[in-house]
């Protein structure tokens, strides 16, 4: 291998993956953008309509309801996931046998499917046969079992509860890695100085975990903004379309109503919102690194 041919050999090895991404990511992305500017539907159509689909989104009250509901979901669940994940990381960060096992168990629901776990919780929350309801009655929190999915706020909290169970281990594992990477000398110095446990958490662990917290928050925010499986399965958008998320509303327009042009425009809008969150995170990380 000489240096010149080597350059192209390397590219040749990467070529299949690059072609795959061009064919199934870049090309569909262009197609999506083009379709969003047409009136395409299952029945045909497809004339150029310019930005009309985007104007329509602006005036679509269900689009706003879904977007606000998604934001609300994200705003509620992210602090819960981060806070609880961090507390669980503090609880299990040492590498004793018990704590390793605890970590492994907390992480377990992360590997099972979202659809399956949503069905599992759909059952636990059921008014007639749900054992979660039954448990709330047995410990005296509820007088009798209730329906969770007939009222939007209650449905939202039921989904948040189930998703917290499912993914809290995700943040925890990231935080454990970050806590374990803290230099032992710093902790020992603080101990010698007589710092109590919660002082060490506050003055050492939290500041040194800043980047990880930001990263975990970003992943959690993006994941929540794209939430759909759990709502399709647990609430089906009910009651009266009040629990549609953004992706769910895109799915409805694209694959239930077959308004392809409009569905595409909604997809582009969502993608821009997600990119906005990612950009904000990068700026935050950089700014912190500079100071």
């Amino acid at each position: 291998m000489n240096a010149v041919s080597g350059r192209y050999v390397g590219l040749l090895y990467a070529a299949p993956a690059i072609l795959f991404v061009l064919a199934f990511l870049v090309y569909p992305l262009g197609q999506l953008f083009y379709t969003s500017l047409t009136s395409a539907s299952l029945l045909g159509g497809g004339e150029w309509v310019g930005v009309r689909n985007y104007v329509r989104a602006w005036n679509d009250s269900q689009f706003w309801t879904s977007l606000l509901f998604t934001l609300k979901y994200t705003l509620y669940i992210t602090p819960i996931l981060m806070g609880l994940g961090f507390l669980l990381a503090l609880l299990t960060a040492d590498n004793t046998r018990l704590k390793k096992v605890t970590r492994g168990v907390i992480f377990l629901p992360v590997v099972i499917g979202l659809a399956v776990s949503s069905l599992l919780w759909f059952w636990l929350f059921d008014q007639q046969v749900g054992l979660f309801n039954q448990m709330l009655v047995d410990v005296g929190i509820l007088d009798r079992s209730i329906t969770w999915f007939t009222e939007p706020t209650r449905a939202l909290w039921a989904v948040i509860f189930s998703i917290t169970w499912k993914v809290v281990g995700f943040g925890m594992i990231l935080f454990v890695a970050s806590i374990q990477s803290i230099d032992r000398e710093i902790t020992e110095a603080a101990l010698i100085d007589g710092a109590g446990y919660w002082q060490r958490v506050q003055k050492i662990i939290l500041p040194l975990s800043y980047r990880t917290i930001l990263l975990a928050t970003l992943i959690s925010v993006i994941g929540s903004m794209l939430a759909v499986d759990q709502f399709i399965i647990m609430t089906a958008g009910n009651p009266r379309g009040q629990t549609f998320t953004s992706v769910y509303w895109i799915y409805q327009n694209s694959f239930v109503f077959f308004k392809l042009g409009y569905g595409s425009a909604l997809s582009i809008i969502l993608m821009l919102i997600i990119l906005g969150f990612a950009a904000a995170q990068i700026i935050l990380t950089r700014r912190r690194a500079e100071t």
């Binding site: 291998m1 080597g6 350059r7 050999v9 390397g10 040749l12 090895y13 990467a14 299949p16 993956a17 690059i18 795959f20 991404v21 199934f24 569909p28 992305l29 197609q31 999506l32 605890t102 377990l108 629901p109 590997v111 099972i112 499917g113 979202l114 659809a115 399956v116 069905l119 599992l120 759909f122 059952w123 059921d126 007639q128 054992l131 039954q134 169970w165 594992i173 890695a177 603080a190 101990l191 100085d193 007589g194 710092a195 109590g196 919660w198 002082q199 003055k203 990880t212 990263l215 794209l226 759909v228 399709i232 895109i250 799915y251 694209s254 694959f255 392809l260 997809s267 969502l270 993608m271």
Partner: protein, 310 residues
């Protein structure tokens, strides 16, 4: 869960006098040290309580799946089964096209996804890690672009494209979508795996007259085995669990994968939910994930961290 807040308040109380003069007083360690034994038991108890809470839903689901169908649908429900029965499993075994069909659908799609991820990501990781490629980081970013673009937004154009190509309703088409989802992570893992291999190994092979493909196949691949296992593991889990694309692309009942099948078990034949059968199908859906996780936990957690922390 109730023991966590009380444990915390005890701690905060112990540290309260010194919060404003951190690092000055020596009494703190004494105060903490005296309660260290009790605290260890408390922390142990909290660990067990947390584990019980996390495992309860799965355990209760399993218990319900082995109740008799009538007990599984009884209200109010029992926590523990009073009757034992495999009737629920028997029922879902014969549901619609039969469990073997759905299992083989899911396994086919997962196997194709694993194959594609390896065929694309191993050479790409090798090419980007071991060669001087012009515009290397640009190509790498292009391969990682899928991380920034939500695949949910691409399902519509992909669906239209696959309809034209005859890939809608096929396992191949769904596997392509799952590969698209998993490729950025796979390329990332493989590139780092190849970069970690010392140069000497490769140079010795080149002196022995190996061409670059032989170097990859005979010399490097055995060394980057951990990376390959990580790619396979994550491709399997992603593909086995993926719901939305499968829901959209698989319209024929006989083509359903396991997540879609579990949802159709809930809908059932008559509209009323068959709870016992549903929990049996949930257990079937969960079981392979748990097995893979327990057996390959080491790869799973390290792969997970390398994927997220970059």
């Amino acid at each position: 869960m109730s023991s966590i807040p009380s444990g915390m308040s005890a701690d905060i109380a112990a540290d309260a006098p010194a919060t404003t003069q951190w690092g000055r007083t020596g009494e703190q360690s004494v105060a903490v040290g005296s309660g260290a034994g009790d605290r260890r038991y408390l922390i142990g108890a909290v660990c067990f309580a947390v584990m019980a809470l996390m495992l309860a839903p799965i355990v209760l689901s399993f218990f319900t799946s082995i109740k008799s169908p009538s007990e599984a649908s009884q209200s109010p429900p029992n926590y523990l089964p009073h009757t034992l029965s495999i009737a629920n499993y028997d029922k879902i075994y014969h549901f619609q096209a039969g469990l073997p069909t759905y299992l083989s659908n899911s396994i086919n799609v997962a196997a194709l996804t694993i194959l594609f991820c390896l065929l694309l990501a191993v050479p790409a990781g090798y090419g980007l890690a071991r060669f001087k490629v012009p515009g290397k980081e640009g190509w790498f970013l292009l391969l990682l672009a899928g991380m920034m673009i939500p695949y949910q937004a691409l399902l519509l154009p992909l669906y239209l494209m696959f309809s034209k190509l005859g890939l809608a309703n096929t396992h191949l088409g769904l596997a392509i979508v799952h590969t698209l989802l998993q490729l950025p992570f796979s390329v990332y893992v493989m590139r780092h795996a190849f970069e970690a291999v010392p140069n000497e190994l490769e140079e010795a092979a080149v002196i022995d007259g190996c061409n670059s493909f032989q170097v990859l196949w005979r010399v490097l691949l055995p060394v980057v085995k951990a990376g390959v296992v990580t790619v396979v593991l994550f491709a399997f889990i992603t593909s086995w669990n993926e719901f939305l694309a499968a829901l959209i692309f698989m319209n024929k009942e006989t083509q359903f994968t396991i997540p879609i099948w579990t949802v159709s078990v809930r809908t059932g034949r008559l509209g009323a939910v068959d709870w016992g059968a549903l929990q049996a199908s949930v257990i079937i859906g969960i079981l392979p994930c748990i097995l893979v996780y327990v057996l390959l936990q080491k790869y799973y957690v390290s792969g997970f961290l390398s994927g997220a922390v970059k």
